[in-house]
């Protein structure tokens, strides 16, 4: 008769391999935001193209909108930028840019070169609003509903997959409510 106890190490090994296998597909850089389901932090910042005027969270009440954190110095922003430009052409959802820790002149030049998908960009010169939103890398994108609640956060560049499977279905659903 085979000693059943001999299978215990094998069992432990298989469980361990299972954990490690799942771990292969996790991204430790994606830290779940505690802000999902919470009201978007209040801000009121100068507009990039019209420094005399401001835009803030209250101005967007009643609309479903995207807040995209970007900077001219940000390399991965270039990755998602064409997608944002496409999205803005479809005019389904307003995109507000948060120009994060950037020179306004450099930011404007960057938009000139790469296309401006934003209804408006606001200037977060010292990154204080970024901290309020829990931004720890650029780009990051927040989906905010009509009541001003954060519903989704994309960490890192928006991908076609994230846009089609997560962001757009959620936008449509939130726009109906």
């Amino acid at each position: 008769m085979v000693n059943k106890k001999l299978f215990i190490p094998l069992g432990i090994f298989i469980v361990l391999v299972g954990f490690l296998f799942v771990g292969l597909f996790l991204n430790p850089r994606e830290v779940p935001s505690p802000l999902i389901g919470k009201p978007a932090p209040m801000f009121s910042l100068a507009q990039l193209h019209a420094p005399g005027k401001t835009l803030g969270t209250p101005d967007m009440k009643g609309q479903v909108w995207l807040l995209n954190v970007w900077a001219s110095w940000c390399v991965s922003c270039r990755e998602e930028h064409p997608l944002l430009v496409e999205l803005s052409k479809a005019r389904v959802v307003p995109i507000i840019g948060l120009n994060y820790k950037d020179e306004p002149a450099a930011g404007m030049k960057w938009l000139q070169q790469n296309g401006d998908p934003y209804n408006l960009s606001v200037v977060d010169r010292d990154g204080a609003v970024g901290i309020d939103f829990g931004v720890y890398g650029v780009p990051e994108t927040f989906l905010i509903d009509k009541t001003g609640t954060i519903r989704y956060k994309q960490i890192g560049p928006i991908t076609v997959e994230a846009l089609e499977k997560k962001i757009m279905p959620l936008v449509r659903e939130l726009q109906k409510s």
Binding site: P28, R29, V31, P32, S33, P34, L35, K101, D126, G127, G130, I131, D132, F133, G134, Y136, G137
Partner: protein, 165 residues
């Protein structure tokens, strides 16, 4: 043989200790000294408790990533504004979640993390206890053969010609 094998491990350990103490020194350097030494001390202490989310295995005190610099500034500003340590930690957790804490809080989701090592120790102790007990039973139960009995008697009597030198 064993001693030689141990040497690289010892060296590696010594290097690790040296490195850790160096990074500790940097942590103090990274926060500019302020006029108020108590506040500066508090800022350093808090910086050691908060994780930098960019270089995730460093505290904001150790890291020189831009975010860490910003968060250190936040900590100092809030200390200057008269906030308590608990207020500042709460401020960070609200924005970045529990992950920002270098020492995770004990709650339902972290129970396995905190209890896991203890649980493994208990399982190990229990297994060891069972193995030892089973072995003792085997040793007690096996009767000696006549030859073994004779040899045991000879050993006990201390007669010459046995195996003990």
């Amino acid at each position: 043989m064993t001693r030689i094998a141990c040497l690289p491990v010892t060296l590696a350990f010594a290097a690790l200790v040296a490195l850790t103490s160096i990074s500790g020194a940097y942590a103090a350097d990274a926060v500019p000294t302020e006029k108020d030494p108590v506040a500066a001390e508090r800022a350093v202490k808090l910086g050691e408790k908060l994780r930098c989310l960019v270089c995730q295995n460093q505290t904001i005190g150790e890291s020189n990533a831009e975010l860490a610099v910003d968060l250190r500034r936040q900590v100092r500003e809030q200390i200057a504004a008269g906030k308590t340590d608990a207020d500042i930690i709460d401020y960070m957790v609200k924005r970045y979640g529990d992950f920002v804490l270098y020492q995770p809080p004990v709650k339902a989701t972290t129970l396995l993390l905190w209890g896991g090592p203890g649980l493994l120790l208990l399982i190990g102790a229990f297994t060891l206890f069972r193995i030892v007990r089973a072995r003792r039973r085997v040793a007690d139960d096996l009767p000696l053969t006549a030859e073994e009995r004779e040899r045991a008697a000879r050993l006990l009597a201390g007669e010459p010609g046995n195996n003990i030198k």
